[in-house]
Amino acid sequence: MAAMHRHMTKHPILWSLVSALLLFMLITAGLYAKLSEPLPPSALPKGHAPDIANGKILYTAGGCISCHRGIGPDVDKPAGGRKLKVPGDTLIPPNITPDRDTGIGNWTPLQFLTAMKRGLAPDGAHYIPAFPYTSYAWMTASDILDLFAYLQTLPAVRNKVERKPFRLGRFALAFWQWLALPRGEFRPVPGKSAQWNRGAYLVLGPGHCGECHTPRNAIMLLNRARWLAGGPHPVEKGSVPSLRGLIRRKRFKDAEDIYNALKYGEALGYEDISSGGMGEVQENISKLPDADIRAIATYLASLE
């Protein structure tokens, strides 16, 4: 101890730097631990009986199959494994069928809730936000549990997908999540109709439309002040159209027109909505109950 004390007084600058570094590492480790905390059991809704039919609607609205689609004969199941190109990387969506070894068959509802609302895997790893949990986090806990229950009814497919680490490191990702995740879930707006609120919920949450249609800043955070205002495509070349002022700009006549575009797409001559990635989105939306498609159209028609 005395020797160490002599060392420190002999080289004060060096030891100040070392202490500062140690303090910094401690704070970072502490912060990282805090940002990697799973949701507590109190986050689960009390006594919720899962509604599988609702789960199926959310699965459709969420477009889960579009990324998690399996390969070959598993093309209609979310068994994962297809390459997903993003800027500077190639990701592979995991298997979300209820296989116990390679899928989510041995997950608990709380683990699924944590994944969807916090972007955290059961082993504590942070998910790369190509998985749009920054939108899914808006969903209610009971809806997320319904979706989980529905997924458990799908056929289990054995397909092991290795998770790729985030190329800029886990600390950057954890910090980004802290900035990006919404606090709390969607709250209906008073004064707006139930239909409008349903549309808003579907667009913000499971529909995750904002992930493409909202512009992002330099560190890929959504610019919520310009919600759904369009901009450069976050992943592909080209741009994504704005969904604001659709009626004012005469892109559509009214909410009914938007409804027809979403439900029928090119079958009724709405060609643009079948372009690029939207084709798959329109196919998914078209499978929703009519009331939900109308709700989405009502919400979008109202945006200025």
């Binding site: 090119e266 009724l268 372009s275 690029g276």
Partner: protein
């Protein structure tokens, strides 16, 4: 010998140029045919949406036109006129030539749908027939064989 060779070379060049021009024409002509089909489809969409009163005669006439437009376009996909190959801008995917049989089948199906629409006798048969053409005909083929609109 020299004269024949010269003639042969020039004939070859002319044929080649004609072939190349014909390829460009094919792209232009098939785009026109498809545009016409779209124009003929529009009033029928108006009827589905109830914006325009239903008129059986118009439906049958336009559907027959669409079938004719499609039959014209069907023959205008020679080799070398796909996206990236043709000199004129085109949204024709390479799958058209890689999956020739499927492409022809998709085209035949669309023509069949158009003819089925032209053959209806009542308003009751209208909606399923027109949705069949738009969905199973136009959309299904485009989904596989046509590129999305070029983004600016």
């Amino acid at each position: 010998m020299r004269k024949i060779t010269t003639i042969a070379i020039f004939t070859g060049m002319t044929l080649f140029a004609t072939g190349a021009m014909a390829a460009d024409d094919a792209v232009k002509m098939r785009k026109e045919a498809m545009k016409e089909a779209k124009m003929n489809f529009k009033p029928l969409v108006g009827m589905v949406k109830g914006k325009v009163p239903f008129d059986l005669a118009t439906v049958k006439k336009n559907a027959a036109q669409i079938a004719a437009d499609l039959e014209r376009a069907r023959k205008l996909f020679p080799e070398g006129t796909g996206d990236g190959e043709a000199k004129v801008e085109t949204r024709a995917k390479p799958e058209i030539w890689l999956m020739k049989d499927e492409f022809q089948a998709a085209f035949d199906n669309a023509i069949k749908r158009a003819k089925a629409l032209a053959a209806i006798d009542s308003e009751a048969a209208f909606k399923p027939a027109v949705m069949g053409l738009g969905g199973d005909g136009c959309k299904a083929c485009h989904k596989k064989f046509r590129l999305p609109k070029k983004k600016k």
